[in-house]
């Protein structure tokens, strides 16, 4: 079996387990939904939506993402299955990519369902902006998950992992969050694509750098 087939099989294993329990998806989706609802009540109806909505959207997505990352590795901790994974004769980078791809799929799915709800709650019609918004969400989610998977694996044996993960993760993903919020802000303001190009470049650069760096360093963070 080739490199990518093994990556896919690790992801398949996560999808199969998630399909039966829906633990990761439901916790992410419900959390994102709660944040959207709370912001809907908290924000002044007369306030300029450009000022707050991009931030509200990305607060919902990023915190839901942290929950999903935590859940994903808690499942690996049960029966110490992660050690079984590390005992397999595969490059540790394959394990990283497989876990990363699974988390990316779950977070993207939660975002895909939360976004229309966000549009309804804040009375936004974003249908004609979906290609640009979708691209920003995809690039930002990829950057967030690529670093998040590395730090989740790093904090798997720590007792305070639920706290440790966001403490480690957020300082590193600040560029992604800023880029995502700024680009979303420009898109919601219906500015031309040229105005978000620099933010897209930032997100692409972050994704490439951190995906490669995480892939290469995963071996060292999972060894005791």
């Amino acid at each position: 079996m080739g490199f990518f087939q093994k990556v896919w099989f690790i992801t398949w294993k996560d999808i199969k387990a998630e399909w039966r329990t829906r633990e990761i998806f439901s916790s992410m989706f419900i959390f994102a939904l709660l944040v959207i609802v709370i912001f809907n009540f908290a924000l002044d109806p007369g306030a300029d939506p450009q000022m707050t909505l991009p931030g509200a959207l990305w607060i919902a997505f990023t915190f839901a993402g942290v929950l999903g990352l935590n859940r994903s590795f808690i499942l690996e901790r049960e029966n110490e299955a992660f050690q079984g994974l590390l005992l397999c004769p595969v490059d540790r980078g394959i394990i990283y990519l497989g876990k990363m791809l699974g988390s990316l799929l779950f977070m993207s799915l939660a975002e895909l369902i939360a976004l229309p709800i966000f549009m309804v709650f804040f009375n936004l019609n974003l249908l004609n902006l979906l290609p640009e918004l979708g691209l920003v969400i995809l690039l930002s989610t990829l950057g967030f998950i690529s670093v998040g998977t590395l730090f989740s694996a790093m904090s798997i044996h720590t007792k305070t992992r639920e706290v440790m993960l966001p403490v480690l993760l957020f300082p590193v993903v600040v560029p992604v969050i800023i880029g995502a919020v700024k680009a979303t802000d420009r898109i919601l303001a219906q500015k031309p694509l040229s105005e978000i190009t620099s933010w897209l470049h930032l997100l692409i650069a972050f994704d490439v750098i951190f995906l490669v760096a995480s892939f290469l360093t995963f071996e060292f963070v999972v060894e005791e």
Binding site: F9, Q83, L85, L87
Partner: protein, 234 residues
């Protein structure tokens, strides 16, 4: 088959393993006894590539552990008190997943064969979370022997097993032994450990203080020998 020279492992100032030397030939079964905190699990984790040693040379099936970790992992099977199984997958799916990771050919037939061996073929499509502790441990054995490893490491495999499951594990270990696999097992249970061993070792405070072939041991009185060496080293 297993060669260890001057193996040490430190965690900060604490020395978990202090100069372990060991040589096992093909088909030999070594049981290592030792009190809690002696370094048994650390030794098994290092041998199974889950932990890096601080110093020393380890060769398994002629492969250097530091340089050929991936190739070494193909040669070894590990059974621990943790089962390494995914509770939300069925027994078949768990073995299929591990089989794919090991690039096994003819996987469905291999899975059915090992499940038959551990007496779980009838329940192979049930989720692992519905299994009893004993059944999970049997499946864990199936997972460990799925790729027919030349060397096996067993870390406290009897932990948490009921009498029936322990009996089954003992029979399975006999089978493992007769198939010329080289085995290192750690356990607290003197009676269970002596039953299947060719060599017996005692590990105390990170040092292998005793290593003898089973033929040179008075198995009836081994408890006294064990406590003598634990007290000497302590």
């Amino acid at each position: 088959m297993v060669y260890i020279q001057n193996l040490t492992k430190s965690f900060g100032n604490f020395k978990a393993l202090r100069g372990i030397n060991l040589k096992l030939e093909k088909g030999q079964f070594l049981t290592i006894f030792g009190p809690n905190g002696a370094g048994k699990t650390t030794l098994i984790k290092i041998l199974s590539t889950l932990m890096k040693p601080t110093s020393g040379v380890i060769k398994i099936a002629g492969l250097d552990l530091r340089e050929d970790g991936e190739s070494v992992r193909k040669q070894i099977g590990v059974i621990s008190h943790s089962t390494y199984l995914y509770p939300n997958l069925t027994a078949y799916e768990n073995l299929k997943f591990y089989g794919k990771m090991y690039d096994l050919q003819n996987l469905p037939a291999t899975i059915e064969r090992v499940l038959e061996e551990v007496g779980l073929k009838d329940r192979m499509h049930d989720l692992v979370r519905t299994y009893s502790r004993g059944m999970q441990q049997r499946l864990s054995i199936a997972r460990a022997i799925l790729h027919d490893p030349a060397v096996m490491f067993l870390d406290e495999p009897y932990t948490g097993l009921d009498l029936h499951a322990a009996e089954m594990l003992r029979d399975l270990l006999q089978t493992v032994h007769t198939r010329e696999r080289t085995v290192i097992m750690t356990t607290h249970s003197i009676s269970q450990g002596l039953e299947v061993s060719d060599l017996v070792g005692i590990l105390v405070r990170g040092k292998l203080v005793y290593l003898e072939p089973i033929g040179k041991i008075d198995t009836q009185d081994f408890g006294k020998t064990y406590f003598y060496w634990v007290e000497q080293a302590g």
